[in-house]
């Protein structure tokens, strides 16, 4: 969590530096690397979540309720397994659909905006992408 957060900050600083100095042509490897940074927020989010859950163990409500006291008495392990498998299947299906859409829209590229921005106000990032 902390690592990916710091990595994101570092990437932002490098990107800001490149943009301010308009050094777009000089660091092509940086732009090749950037798409892989998409994974970092997801990584930070998931690992952060795992950290809080594992860090609270053996409490479910810190200092008040322990895990074994929080277990539902009437929910059998069979039911839990059923729901676990169900959620894995549904989320597996949703991951496939999401990745498919992400790849599809990444290949299409950014959509043209409805109202074209006037040229003189076009930020440097956009103009450089357009000229490539």
């Amino acid at each position: 969590m902390v690592g990916s957060g710091l990595a994101l900050i570092a990437i932002c600083l490098v990107a800001l530096f490149i943009d301010l100095k308009n050094l777009y042509g000089k660091f092509p490897w940086f732009f090749k690397l950037l798409p892989w940074a998409i994974i970092l927020p997801y990584l930070a989010n998931s690992t952060g979540w795992i950290l809080t859950e594992v860090g609270r163990f053996p409490w479910v409500v810190y200092g008040l309720v322990k895990l074994q006291d929080g277990v539902s008495k009437v929910v059998s392990s069979g039911m839990l397994l059923t729901s676990l498998i169900g959620f894995i299947l549904v989320y597996g299906f949703l991951i496939v659909a999401t990745v498919y859409l992400m790849l599809k829209f990444a290949k299409i590229g950014p959509a043209p905006t409805d109202t074209p921005e006037p040229d003189e106000f076009t930020p440097s990032l956009v103009s450089v992408q357009d000229s490539q």
């Binding site: 009437v74 729901s83 959620f87 949703l94 659909a97 859409l101 599809k104 829209f105």
Partner: protein, 338 residues
């Protein structure tokens, strides 16, 4: 009035609002494969509920959240006892919510068919499961002395609960069709009107059967008060008026009447429950009530203040979305967002 009663009423209001609002968008979701002949029509149908379905669904989350905070024992017993039905409900709502967002993102007919199927299933499942749950709350389920559900999954699928599920599902479909008759034009509008005409008599008969059975299988006859008469009578009057307005072809009023019908079905169920929240079929003393299932008075007090501030704000902005999107949705491909 104690805060416990106030929160019981508030939860009733939340479920009532939920079923009035999400009732029609569930109905629209169920009608989608039957009313939408081609992709353009299906997109038009989805766009009628597009701006509303997620806001409507929040009423269910709020009702669940209010149950958790005001009556934690009710929440614990119900969510553990109804584990598998609520799991299925969640799966349905997940697939439905994603389907609305994903279906329009790809042209492939198979892709769209897949998500249309998810919308259909995701709308049908809650329409069956929630009435099954509510019928069982009021009919009584095996709850032991320690507030634990002592039955199984199939205990919940008794004839009374299934009757409730069928009656309410068809009511929601009719409710959805009358919503579509106000929000669409041309072929879809005509077909939606036809469906309301077809369903009205069936729904009326099923609701009357459900009402009579409710008075037979629950303990309401031993605890009758005037509200147990007034609420069902308003509901019956509303569904009969819906029939009257149907004959006069005033579809806006038909929708208003189906809203009132949905509302009073739910209100009647809560009126019969009160002051219990879950009825035990094993021993009346083991039922969960607004006293033994409640949070501490301090919690209820804080929640009351918060609710008094925020509920009106939410009501205003939800009402605003309906005002903004009050016009009919036409089949104009470039204007449809879903």
């Amino acid at each position: 009035m104690t805060l416990n009663t106030l929160w019981f009423i508030l939860i009733c209001v939340l479920y009532t609002g939920f079923f009035i609002l999400e009732g029609f968008d569930f109905g629209v979701g169920i009608l989608l494969p039957f009313l939408g002949k081609n992709d353009l029509q299906r997109r038009t149908i989805i766009n009628t509920i597009g701006p509303h379905w997620d806001g409507n669904e929040v009423w269910l989350l709020t009702a669940g959240g209010a149950t958790f905070a005001a009556f934690p024992n009710w929440y614990a017993t119900m969510f553990s006892g109804f584990y598998l039905p609520l799991f299925l409900l969640l799966i349905g709502l997940i697939l439905r919510g994603v389907a609305f967002e994903f279906r329009g993102k790809d042209e492939n007919p198979l892709w769209r068919k897949l998500w249309d199927l998810c919308i259909f299933i995701g709308s049908l499942l809650p329409c069956i499961l929630l009435p099954v749950a509510f019928s069982n709350l009021v009919r009584g389920i095996p709850i032991d002395a320690h507030m634990q559900y002592a039955g199984g999954f199939f205990n919940l699928l008794n004839p009374y609960a299934l009757l409730g599920a069928i009656a309410l599902t068809l009511l929601f479909v009719m409710h959805g069709a009358s919503f579509l008759s106000m929000k669409t034009t041309g072929e879809i509008e005509e077909k939606a009107k036809e469906i309301v005409h077809w369903l009205w008599l069936l729904v009326t008969l099923l609701l009357l059967m459900f009402l009579v059975t409710t008075f037979i299988v629950t303990d309401v006859r031993q605890r009758m008060n005037v509200l147990h008469v007034i609420f069902p009578v308003i509901g019956v009057a509303a569904i009969l008026s819906a029939g009257y307005f149907l004959r006069k072809q005033q579809y806006g009023r038909v929708f208003a009447m189906s809203c009132i019908t949905v509302a009073f079905v739910i209100i009647t169920i809560f009126a019969i429950l009160y002051p219990r929240v879950m009825v035990s079929s094993l021993n009346p003393d083991w039922s969960l009530t607004i006293q033994n299932a409640a949070s501490s008075p301090a919690t209820l007090k804080v929640m009351t203040i918060v609710a008094l501030i925020f509920v009106p704000i939410v009501l205003i902005y939800q009402g605003w979305t309906y005002w903004i999107f009050r016009k009919r949705v036409k089949s104009e491909p470039d204007k449809l967002t879903y």
